[in-house]
Amino acid sequence: MTDTAWETLSNQAVAAAGVVYFLALLVHLAEWASLRQPKAARSAAAAGAQEQGAGGTAVAVATGPEGADGADGRAGRVAFLGRLGVMLTAIACAAHGVALLGRGLAADPNRVPWGNMYEFTLSGTFVVTLMYLVLYKRLGLHWMAPLVVGFVTATLMIAVIWLYAEVSPLTEALNSPWLVIHVVSAVIATGAFTIGGILSIMYLVKDRRGEWTTGPLARVPSLQALDRAAYRVHAFAFPVWTFAVLITGPIWAHEAWSRYWNWDPKEVWAFITWVVYAAYLHARATGGWKGRNAALLAVVGLATLWFNFIGINYFSTTSQHSYAAPVAADAPVLGARE
């Protein structure tokens, strides 16, 4: 296949992934909508062996055998929609992967698919989906499906509309094995922090609103379970982020720019993110900060993370990180001379 063919394939795969993600979102929303009807919600919950039976029985008695059948049918439908949604998400994720592969193979010479903001966002959202698919069973994340899929769909759309760039070779400074390690770990941590952040946001929402007993959100786990799942995801992401930002990043920066730490805006924000998450881990161990405040810190951390990922490029022009400006990295350094 020619480079142009790979590039075309990549673009088509992104489009396909976007469409399938969107379908998955619709399916999951339909799933939620089915839960919204109280009867269905209760019987679905009962089917999941979670609800305290009493309500379900009351309904069954009130509506008679036919009503009970209808509720069962709806529970079946909810389960079916849930499975369909996960399947669609998996298909979209595969297409997403193909899109990344295509970007890498379209370049001459072939390279890792994260040379600019577009590709970086493509990789980041891919990892969010992948992380979700890997973890949803283990951590019981099914309830967050619409949030994850919605987030990925929206971010992909932003990437395609505003960040798109044609395939071009890596700038010289980016052409380093450390880049591969650095970015892979940064992207993995970003994906995990995003999942953890969604858990913490849900914690805050639930903390404010109180328990739901009906409706789509009834299946959101208890506060304690949310807090614990969030901690586990963050505890995984934090060392990975440490590795990306404080080990491989500086090693690469030292080779490319002669300073391992230069207080470049991207570095500063990566550091801020790191410090905020360190504060989150502390908060979880501090009386009075546990729970709500810790979750707040996790959300602040997520905000700094994504701000650094996308936002900082629009606030600061001095970043040497060349996703901001693809050609700047090997431009002659003119500044410092009188």
Binding site: N175, T242, N262, P265, A279, H282, F315, T318, A336, R337
Partner: protein, 553 residues
């Protein structure tokens, strides 16, 4: 192991006479301050402050990062600039207030590490604590009925099981009717290692900032750079830098190659810069292909390739026919097209000094008689300069930039029509006679130049070792599960033995159910599969929250 309960709280001032409010002794004040400073809450607040304090440096240009951007910013904001200046906002990361925060954090850190290390040392020597009276009050609890097993035998077996699982046991003479076991001591070691390593990283970083330096210099192909303070175009030394620490080497740029992309969306950008250099240290000469991402290390010094450009070789003959200036002249690229600006100062030209300033076009094309740049590679170069005579200020004793012409006392030579400045456009090998018998200018050919960054960063391996140790400690601290297990056995009155198992997960988000499952399975193997009845009494408290919260689907 939540910090709030493991940290030894300072002893209450018991036995001291009560005081009236406000009558705090100096010692108490000190102790109070220390306790505040080293509390977990303070650490938390200081961390948040540190994050907050780092923000301005990412939006306001920093002189340590980009001095030019700072002066440009100051020009654009004349009223704000002095205020920002006073607040150190152009050098946030060296500022007093930023330093204050991280120094406080470090003090707090030391104040945290020391007592925790002491507490840890005690904990390692201490026995796992005796079993609480009621194991069923613990977050993880199971009761098992073992038939045909004496309580003593059940406890022996439990001890063996726990020892096999690498728990530490409370010694048997203090056991009583229960087994106490603990594991995961290394978690705290990991935590301490992590926090100590942070100090190591900071130390390594500080050494680099204080004793290191960064210099930059442009070296034209074929010329030699010798590593002395005066050879640098600019030098950014740490406050404890001494010139004696410069490695005494010389380095010659023998050749420089760039590959230009000729097709695709990034056509016209450069790839694969290679400067073949030879360097000389202690009488030994070696060569190295210097490339981006592949720095050269000479002694303690690292040399990096960071930029490149063109130096037209220009010869100026004065009105008396003598060579007043000759050599490669560094022109500075203005943008990605490598359109470059430079000046020539022929101070010894007679009867008048001659100055030239103008542009270099690597590959040019004429549009309405004026050159424009069409390609960054020097395929068809042109220099286009205007001419100045008179006093160029070279003898005034004031240091001058080699990239700017002081024209305050000079006059620009105009064309014969008097309207337009006289302009000389030269291609390689061409010579132009200057008007008014001033002399002539020859554009001989073009040499490439490279800009190298030269630096010493002492302490970099200390810092690297520090972060790696910190990461290892962090992994231990986050993933080693630390817990206590108690097993109690008593006759149930009907010929069997009731075994109670209690688990206390001491940190992290560990699930106790899987631990209990495994332990109970091991404990009941003694009685054989038929006689045991595991999980007879699974009280409400043993259902883990995450279980009950699991998604129904």
């Amino acid at each position: 192991m939540s910090a709030t309960d493991t940290r030894p709280s300072a002893p209450a001032p018991s036995g001291e006479p009560p005081r009236r409010a406000g009558e705090l002794g100096l010692r108490e004040l000190g102790r109070w301050t220390w306790r505040q400073l080293t509390s977990m809450r303070t650490a938390l607040v200081l961390l948040l402050l540190l994050a907050l304090a780092a923000v301005p440096g990412s939006v306001i240009p920093q002189s340590g990062v980009d001095a030019l951007a700072v002066s440009r910013w100051k020009d654009e904001h004349p009223t704000l600039a002095p205020v920002y200046e006073r607040l150190d906002l152009f050098s946030v990361y060296d500022s007093v207030w930023f330093s204050a925060i991280y120094i406080l954090l470090m003090i707090s850190l030391v104040g945290c590490i020391l007592p925790r290390t002491a507490a840890y040392a005690r904990a390692v020597r201490a026995q796992p604590p005796a079993a609480p009276r009621r194991l069923d009050r613990l977050p993880g609890h199971r009761a098992v009925r073992l038939e045909g097993v004496e309580p003593e035998a059940a406890l022996e077996h439990a001890a063996a099981v726990l020892r096999r699982r690498r728990y530490r046991l409370r010694s048997s003479d203090q056991r009583g009717e229960a087994v106490s076991a603990e594991r995961g001591y290394l978690r705290e070691v990991g935590n301490l290692l992590f926090h100590v390593s942070l100090l190591v990283v900071l130390a390594g970083f500080a050494v680099g900032v204080l004793f290191g330096y960064q210099g930059a210099v442009i070296v034209v192909k074929g010329t030699t750079f010798s590593n002395t303070v005066s050879s640098y175009d600019d030098l950014d030394p740490g406050s404890r830098f001494t010139p004696a620490q410069l490695d005494p080497f010389t380095m010659t740029v023998d050749d420089f190659d760039v590959t230009w992309l000729t097709k695709g969306s990034s056509a016209g950008t450069a790839r694969e810069f290679v400067a073949d250099v030879s360097y000389d240290l202690d009488g030994e000469t070696r060569t190295y292909p210097l490339r981006v991402n592949h720095p050269l290390t000479i002694g303690d010094t690292d040399v990096f390739l960071v930029g490149h450009g063109y130096a037209p070789v220009i010869t100026v003959r004065d009105g008396e026919g003598n060579v007043a200036y000759s050599g490669p002249t560094v022109f500075l690229p203005q943008d990605q097209t490598f359109l470059s600006f430079g000046v020539v100062k022929a101070g010894s030209a007679r009867p008048q000094q001659i100055g030239l300033d103008g542009l270099f076009f690597p590959t040019f094309s004429l549009v309405d008689g004026d050159p424009v740049t069409v390609w960054p590679d020097d395929l068809d170069p042109l220099v286009s300069m205007t001419l100045w005579t008179g006093d160029l200020g070279l003898d005034s004793g004031v240091a001058q930039s080699v990239y700017a012409l002081d024209t305050s006392n000079a006059t620009q030579v105009m064309r014969a029509d008097g309207e337009q400045p006289f302009r000389l456009d030269l291609r390689p090998g061409e010579t132009v006679q200057l008007p008014d018998d001033l002399g002539s200018v020859t554009f001989e050919d073009v040499q490439p130049w490279v800009r190298v960054q030269v630096s010493q960063t002492p302490g970099k391996f200390v810092a690297l070792g520090g972060v790696i140790a910190a990461l290892i400690g962090l992994l231990g601290s986050l993933f080693i599960r630390s817990r206590r297990v108690w097993v109690r056995a008593r006759p149930d009155g009907a010929g069997a033995t009731m075994v109670d198992v209690g688990v206390l997960e001491r940190a992290g988000g560990g699930d106790v159910e899987d631990v209990l499952d495994a332990l109970v399975a091991d404990l009941t193997e003694l009685a054989g599969p038929s006689s045991s009845s595991p999980s007879t009494a699974t009280s409400d408290s043993t259902t883990s929250p995450s279980e009950s919260g699991k998604d129904p689907a």
